[in-house]
Symmetry: C2
Subunit: 218 residues, 2 copies
């Protein structure tokens, strides 16, 4: 497909800027997550629970990426965390230069963990490095257990998989063991957590790991 | 964003081929749907229920678009319907020329309705005309009621909205009336159906409308 070839130049340019972001993050000892998923998997809800859990333990900031609206940044800002909204106006993924611009609105020296919530899209954001330390892919049980096989790139590039909405397992056609196996068949190094933002199950485990990992990266 | 400008040429070329597809469909009196949604909203399940419901009443064929795997085409083929799989190998949407190629594998003169299931992506496929008569956007209740506001393009270009997985409403944070209002605020002409592939609710109503619409388009 023609898009692939034409996008190569864009990707090279993007990688260059991502490198500059990464250097900036290192300079400020900042741990950066790039959170990716389909629309409606629960990225923002996980952010909210993570902020609640880590409040008082570590300083956080958030960059929200959306095609349209600042609904998500408003949700996060309500929790008293610095939040910057990037509206892509139709763009299907965040790019490193958009993040670079957004960083100008955050006092990096006061922050330890920066969470970037990408546009809801399980395909395109896989190809765009933002300078993050790791990609966190979120999938909800309602999406079915075959998704890692059908959208392998995102699972390939991610370090962490959060299987969200596990409270809905009794009502949906999703075998969570098969989902886990499918994801690990694509990327055996994925660290997998099971979460529910409704019941709160798994949030503490995920946050403890994140905090530990921020302080002592593997 | 640089992608937007560079993609203009691709879009022009795509529209040209989409026009050729549309002429071919008209020549064969073929009604063509382009079904779009996030991953895991239930596009393939709706296809299966639609095929079961319309079997014996109208002749159908399916083109399946996926980033990877032919899982979906296999599911559809099991129901005895001609099915062609397009694997985009990382591509985030179907393009008109891919559909044009796939059409060579379908005996168009024997078919009345062609359903194209696009790659699971609520952003990019909005911009690519495939030559279809209408776009059908599927959203599941588990994705939340704000998605039409956050991903407006797809709702803007669609003629039909299927709100799927309504059996899960008691368990999820989704106000279906608000979802409907949000969608109609983007596109007041959307024809909205509520469906569940688990209980079968709404499938018959949707299929009767489709059959009626195929025979007597508005």
């Amino acid at each position: 497909m023609s898009v692939i070839t034409i996008e190569r130049k864009i990707l090279e340019k993007n990688d260059e800027v991502a490198g500059r972001n990464r250097a900036l993050f290192a300079e400020h000892d900042l741990f950066v997550l790039n959170v990716v998923s389909s629309p409606g998997s629960g990225k923002t809800s996980i952010l909210e629970r993570t902020i609640e859990q880590l409040r008082g333990k570590v300083s956080l900031a958030v960059i929200e990426g959306d095609v349209q609206t600042d609904i998500d940044a408003q949700r996060v800002a309500r929790l008293g965390v610095p939040a910057v909204q990037i509206v892509t106006r139709g763009g299907c993924h965040l790019e490193a230069n958009l993040v670079h611009e957004a960083l100008k609105n955050i006092e990096l020296q006061n922050i330890r963990i920066l969470i970037i919530e990408n546009v809801g899209n399980l395909v395109c954001p896989a190809n765009y490095d933002l300078g993050e330390a790791m990609k966190v892919v979120v999938i909800s049980t309602t999406e079915g257990d075959d998704k890692p096989l059908k959208y392998p790139n995102m699972f390939c590039f991610a370090s962490v998989l959060l299987i969200n909405k596990i409270d809905l397992l009794p009502y949906v056609n999703c075998n969570i063991e098969q989902l886990r196996l499918n994801a690990l068949s694509i990327n055996p190094n994925l660290r997998v957590f099971e979460t529910s933002c409704t019941t709160g199950v798994g949030i503490q485990t995920w946050c403890e790991w994140l905090l530990q990992h921020t302080t002592h990266p593997e």
